[in-house]
Amino acid sequence: MSADAPPVPTTAAATVPPPATGKAAGTSPLRRLLNELTRSTSGFLGLCLVVAILLLSLVGPLVVGTEVPGDASRAWEAPSAQHWLGLEGTGKDTLHLLVIGGRTVLMVGFLAAAITTVIAVAIGSLAGYFGGRFDAAMLQLTDIVMTVPQIVLLAVVGAFYSLDSPMLLGVIIGVLTWPVLMRSIRAQVLSLKEREFVEAAQLLDVGWVRVVFGEIVPNMASYILINFIIAVTNAIYAMVGLYLLGLAPQKGTNWGIMINDAWTKGAMFNPDAVAYIVAPVTMIVLLQLGLILLTRTLEEILNPRLRDR
């Protein structure tokens, strides 16, 4: 997309400051970002979706409790005023399950994305900064890992190991998915390390740790943020898929397990039970949509080249 660009000004440092609206002058970059984000319709919508789902999934369980009482004699009861989304196969309230089912999805998604991002940033910036053997070896490694379709790899690893906790699942997803991001971080560092401020830091002789992680990495902050959110969507895609196939442990409650349960029990053929399969699907789609809208808008805000032409 930017093959011809000289030192690419995609980072926050090079971003054009927002049009002076008076008070924007002295505020923090985060506040400025939030301002711009809420000014764009899709960005605002994305932010609202993500925040709403976060609130529902993190605060909701505290309100309604994590224990869902079930009455097997009322299995697959149709939606009613008392049970808005009806009851599932063991007589549990679908809406209640929906509220407590988001926590695992979000935690695994964010954990996996955090691991991916940390590894990618560390290895990518060191490889880009030092070059040489380490760089060549890492490029070769990413070449190989990127070739094996990650879903297939995850499914196979999941089959060999018994993944008995969602967190372990998150760790494995994180460890297997960093190479793509590492490549783009490396490319960013390659262009950043030629800049004056890096040279200045090098002249001060503060050591490579300070130069790389104190000078170069902070300049990629916005880029890393965007990629972190993309990593969250990818991790959720992978994890829900594994739950859906039944390749991850079907213990506890989460949206992926709910869909798998509904699918294997044929909920979609039962008119009273359709909500049990459609509701978690909708939640995941809304969450992914929110995250994608957020990244698209952030990209536009932080990379003016995409916006004005």
């Binding site: 997309m1 930017s2 093959a3 660009a5 690419v8 899709s42 070059g131 060549a136 490029l139 070769q140 070449d143 190989i144 070739t147 094996v148 379709p149 990650q150 879903i151 297939v152 790899l153 499914a155 196979v156 999941g158 089959a159 060999f160 190991y161 793509v180 490549r183 783009s184 490396r186 490319a187 960013q188 390659l190 262009s191 030629e194 993309i230 895609y237 829900v240 898929g241 859906l244 196939l245 039944g246 390749l247 869909i259 699918w263 979609m268 053929f269 359709v274 399969i277 459609v278 699907v281 995941i284 789609v285 992914q288 949509l289 995250l291 994608i292 809208l293 698209r296 995409l306 032409r309």
Partner: protein, 372 residues
């Protein structure tokens, strides 16, 4: 989304000269030789990747907890009272290596077997080799994913160009919104929604008849009946793949075209009074397409990976469904085989993309030299 890969190759070239300028190749037969060595180098790299993955698969089976070879042997002894020798002989047949020989021998035997296209026999369906199974399932995935990719790229690129030419127009906005929406839906959830909404609720899709690859009674032959039948059965997976990827293609193409439209040579072409259609095809289209070719390969890999979910939902008997069933029956030789074959497919797609790229853009051939 991130097409920065070519960028990563360019900077080190410009940065390298101070230290390493001296031992450059003589400039004499430069063009010709570099071109050929690029292809050679690229081929070697592909072989290397396949070899590493094959070795990884070998190690995975040997070293992971609950080594399936030992599990299989113990199972046979416990369940059927076979002798250790007998069980071990069977295991060596299934897994293409004999656990009693030294590990380096096993490894060489395994690689030798792979070279001859021998991946052992399936455990779940005794008497069938892994190779036969894959040959039976893989074509269906290549067929459905291939057609989907073709449709999605063609439609996406056309939409993307229209969007770039009429920025801010209705098509631009509509495709952006709808595209983001469908991109946000994981392909397997779209598959479920198609079944729940289209087949069960609205009853406009005959899901029970469309399952599988072919209708019972239709023979695999080169006839209109067979071709239309397999087309009918592949419809749902293809729709799923196309809907979830076409928006992404449109947006990528829009960005690429927009950038090209701002280039000087387009302005010059307009100033020269060239015909608009010629500018669109030769100046804008070609240059906007170039950076996308590499991404086609990436997408191919992604869709093949996603096939495991989609094929399971639609009971479409492709390689994804084979992998799923093999995992469920713990058919390790088949799992290994599928993993390897899927990797080779993606390696070939990447190789093809790189070679096409290099043929179209000389900068890539030359830039590649220092990077790896």
């Amino acid at each position: 989304m991130t097409a920065d890969v070519p960028t990563s190759a360019a900077p080190p070239e410009s940065a390298a000269p101070p230290g390493t300028a001296a031992p450059r190749r003589p400039a004499a037969s430069l063009g010709h030789r570099i071109y050929h060595s690029f292809i050679l180098r690229r081929l070697l790299r592909s072989v290397f990747v396949v070899w590493v993955v094959a070795s990884g698969v070998f190690l995975m089976v040997r070293l992971l907890p609950g080594n399936p070879v030992d599990v299989y042997i113990n199972q046979q002894i416990a369940l059927y009272g076979k002798s250790y020798e007998q069980a071990a002989a069977e295991a060596s047949n299934f897994f293409r290596f004999d656990p009693s020989t030294p590990i380096w021998r096993q490894y060489l035997d395994y690689l030798g077997g792979l070279l001859r296209g021998d991946m052992g026999s399936s455990i779940a369906t005794p008497g069938v080799t892994v190779m036969d199974k894959i040959a039976q399932y893989l074509p269906w995935t290549l067929y459905s994913v291939g057609i989907a990719l073709l449709i999605s790229i063609t439609v996406g690129l056309i939409l993307g160009m229209i969007m770039a030419y009429r920025r801010g127009g209705i098509i631009d906005h509509a495709v952006s919104i709808i595209g983001s929406g469908f991109h946000a839906i994981p392909n397997y959830l779209l598959a479920i929604l198609i079944v729940v909404v289209g087949a069960v609720q609205l009853q406009i899709i005959d899901y029970t008849r469309m399952r599988g690859n072919v209708s019972p009674g239709v023979d695999a032959e080169f006839s209109l009946r067979f071709l239309s039948d397999i087309g009918y059965h592949a419809t749902l997976p293809i729709i799923t793949y196309v809907l979830t990827t076409v928006g992404t293609w449109a947006l990528i193409m829009k960005a690429s075209t927009t950038q090209v439209l701002g280039e000087d040579y387009v302005t010059v072409a307009k100033a020269r009074g060239l015909k608009e259609s010629r500018i669109q095809a030769h100046y804008v289209g070609r240059n906007a397409l170039l950076p996308l070719i590499a991404q086609i390969a990436t997408q191919a890999g992604f869709i093949v990976g996603g096939a495991i979910f989609v094929e399971q939902t639609f009971s479409y008997e492709g390689i994804g469904l084979l992998l799923f069933e093999s995992i469920n029956t713990r058919d390790y030789p088949t799992i290994q085989g599928v993993l390897l074959v899927v990797t080779i497919t993606v390696v070939l797609a990447n190789l093809a993309a790189d070679l096409i790229n290099a043929a179209l853009d000389p900068r890539i051939r030359l830039g590649e030299g220092g990077a790896s």
